[in-house]
């Protein structure tokens, strides 16, 4: 333990700690741009500079370790002037179109300019315009709004282990780009959108399909059907300034109906269905000597990741489509038939916490008869915009419930939204499928929480099951490398692309801190704790669907509609066809 002085106050800190960390704990706020909680400092933006007695230069507090007896000033005139200058210089090259920017009001740069009193253009610089990158179905980039803080590069490389983007060039011509500056669509980008969450400005956004959905809603010849993912109802509240973690499922359903969607379905229903199919697939693989460990397939960012970086493990990936795509396939087959409507006249929309789902729905194999199973994917943020656009007051709207036949869900399907949820739901049902008895204690604490890697070894009716749960593709890489090196004690692995799972997906509300993500997770587990139907195999509508249409899990219709196949991809993200 050491002590130092900041603005005349004595502060205690651990040896080796950075000034910024110690100050934050003491409630002294230092502005930052490039700093990322949980990652080593990069010291790029210099916004966090402080004055250190005895040092000729200002020092960056994020990357300068505390020392015993050091004296610093965090808000001297010199410090404030330096920070103002930095923001002023950043703005000198920034477009002036804040009114048209979808980050306005949520932009860190805008907030800093306001907070630091940068109220006029001091430095006039000729701006070199770079082309937009709108090639990806998931993420749009505007390099002109980029301030080179490097947060997107770091999250892509250090957390996700993907490295689709990096700094290109030097000095004033430096920019963030993909390999050969070819565009995200032809890169290794897995579309997770963690870069969008990390970006302090409007340089990275989701590719919006709001106008396409509105056009579909206005078309009288189309039945517009919507499904909403488990993690959306516990995070949408934040778009309306309501406390993080508030579950507004009923209000959201009512809002979707008022917007004009003809049917509102709950993706948690098809999450229950996924458990039936995936659980049966796991048991089948174990009994018949299939490829193990089986890897989950719900998270489309992870799927592109494994296709690109670990193609030799593709036989291990469950052939189950994700819940979104299972629902999509059922809407344009079973539901269309039930309603006696031509599937060509159905527009299928889904609300997801995810940008990679936009890519997933465009995959060629996710289609029937030249029609995509899901037509448009909107993120939680886009739904927030749509609700505001349609003038719906989320405070006063009365709650409503989702439609049949895909509206009922168990809480096992709901907890898919948190890392570990799929595994917990699967173990609950696998136990029943193997023993005909319910698991005595449904809550599996070892699989819960925001830790990036969790493991559990259980014995179900003599069947030894080694289960692992990882979230964040960097963590997936570590585990997959162990598997490739010969690790044999695992049979089932849940992999979620985003750290913490869908509750922290790339399509979720911006500017959420770790506490907000934790609140979303707690909310999902509270729903699980409070409700009665807690296992997928007791979902009556899932049972009816099997009785009336699908037959049995892994049956012929399931195989055709609910299962898929994967392809090796090259470094441009394109399918390597001749290797299939």
């Amino acid at each position: 333990m050491i002590t130092f002085e900041a603005n005349g106050r004595t502060i205690k800190a651990d040896d080796g700690e950075m000034i910024l960390t110690a100050l934050k704990r003491e409630g002294i706020h230092i502005p930052t741009l490039c700093h990322m909680e949980g990652l080593p400092p990069s010291g790029a933006c210099r916004l966090c500079v402080v004055e250190l007695e005895g040092s000729a230069n200002l020092v960056p507090s994020c990357s300068y370790p505390v020392a015993n007896g050091m004296k610093i000033k965090t808000n001297s005139a010199r410090v404030l002037e330096a920070r103002k200058m930095i923001v002023s210089l950043l703005l000198s090259q920034h477009p002036d179109d804040c009114l048209y920017c979808n980050r306005t009001g949520k932009c860190d740069l805008q907030k800093l300019a306001l907070d630091l009193g940068v109220s006029q253009r001091v430095h006039g610089v000729k701006k070199a315009r770079k082309e937009l990158d709108v090639s990806s179905p998931s993420i749009a980039r505007d390099p002109n709004k980029c301030i080179l803080c490097g947060r997107c590069v770091r999250v892509c490389e250090e957390i996700q282990g993907v490295s689709a983007i990096d700094f290109v060039g030097r000095g004033s011509t430096a920019f963030i780009g993909t390999a050969f500056d070819g565009g995200l669509n032809v890169s290794t980008c897995v579309n997770c959108g963690q870069c969008v969450l990390a970006c302090p400005t409007g340089a990275l956004t989701e590719r919006s399909y709001v106008s396409e959905v509105i056009a579909a809603l206005e078309n009288p010849g189309k039945m517009v059907v919507v499904q909403h993912a488990p993690a959306v109802s516990v995070s949408l509240a934040e778009e309306f300034g309501i406390k993080a973690g508030t579950d507004i499922d009923g209000k959201m359903v009512a809002a979707l109906r008022r917007i004009g969607f003809d049917r509102v379905f709950d993706t948690s229903f098809s999450a229950d269905l996924t458990i039936m199919e995936e659980g049966s697939e796991l048991v089948h693989r174990i009994k018949t000597g299939g490829a193990l460990p089986m890897l989950t397939s719900c998270s489309p960012g992870w799927i592109k990741f494994v296709e690109q970086f670990y193609p030799d493990l593709l036989p291990n990936v469950s052939t189950c489509k994700s819940p979104q795509q299972m629902m999509g396939a059922l809407i344009k087959s079973f539901f269309a038939k039930r309603e006696k409507i031509d599937p060509a006249n159905i527009v299928s929309v889904s609300i997801m916490p995810c940008t990679a789902k936009k890519f997933e729905c465009s995959r060629p194999e996710m289609s029937q008869n030249h029609m995509q199973d899901v037509d448009y994917v909107l993120t939680t943020r886009e739904l927030g915009q749509l609700i505001r656009m349609f003038g719906i007051d989320m405070e006063s709207i009365e709650s409503d419930t989702a439609d049949t036949p895909f509206g009922e869900r168990s809480t096992a399907g709901k907890i898919f939204g948190a890392s570990g949820g799929v595994m917990e739901a699967a173990i609950r049902s696998a136990h029943y499928l193997l023993t005909n008895k319910e698991l005595p204690a449904l809550e599996i604490k070892q699989l819960r929480g925001l830790t990036g890697a969790k493991e559990l070894h259980v014995s179900i009716d003599g069947l030894e099951l080694g289960a692992a749960v990882v979230s964040g593709l960097g963590n997936a890489r570590k585990l997959l490398d162990q598997i490739k090196a010969g690790r044999k004690d695992l049979q089932f692995i849940e992999i979620m692309t985003c750290p913490g799972g869908c509750i922290n997906g790339g399509g979720q509300p911006l500017n959420a801190d770790i506490e907000a993500v934790q609140s979303r997770m707690k909310s999902l587990y509270k729903i699980d704790h409070d409700e009665k139907l807690r296992v997928s195999h007791n979902n009556e509508w899932v049972k009816r669907l099997y009785a009336e249409f699908l037959g049995k899990p892994l049956g012929e219709i399931s195989h055709h509609l609910l299962h898929t196949h994967y392809y090796e991809r090259d470094n441009c993200g394109a399918v390597v066809k001749d290797k299939v």
Binding site: E131, L132, D133, V134, S135, G182, G183, N185, V186, S211, E212, A215, S362, P364, E365, S367, H370, Y567, C572, G573, A574, V575, K577, V580
Partner: protein, 135 residues
């Protein structure tokens, strides 16, 4: 033997023509190439394509639009894909969502460059309603 479906590729970037040609020839299509609107019009004198894939900004900024009109005048109903980087370059985006856009933009699909090979195969097969494995 089944006759090969004919696809006309119009783009002033020879690399893009070559890439598309490679992908689509492998799918069994017969490819006709043109580097601008004028060449494309000439191709239409001797060939009735089953599908055309057009760039937008070629010798003129709106070459793709005018050629799409020309194509519909000569061979009405021929499906066409506008494959363009116009949004990247200008910030303007074109889509077919409104009836108004569909009335003047004489194409069936707008795609943003660059595309992955499986996207191209999917859209071509959708417009020609080919029974393929879709990848």
């Amino acid at each position: 033997m089944k006759t090969k479906k004919k696809i006309l590729l119009v783009d002033d970037d020879p690399d893009i023509i070559d890439q598309m040609s490679l992908v689509l020839t492998a799918e069994g299509y017969e490819i006709f190439k043109a580097a601008d609107e004028k060449e494309a019009v000439e191709v239409l004198l001797s060939v009735k394509p089953d599908l055309a894939i057009l760039d937008l900004m070629m010798n003129e900024k709106d070459s793709g639009f005018t050629f799409a009109h020309h194509l519909q005048t000569i061979y009405p109903g021929t499906p066409a894909i506008l494959l363009t980087a116009v949004t990247s370059a200008t910030g303007l985006s074109f889509d077919l969502m409104s009836p108004d856009a569909r009335s003047w933009l004489k194409v069936n699909k707008v795609m943003t460059k660059p595309v992955r090979s499986e996207q191209l195969r999917l859209e071509v097969s959708n417009l020609l309603k080919e029974k393929t494995e879709h990848v």
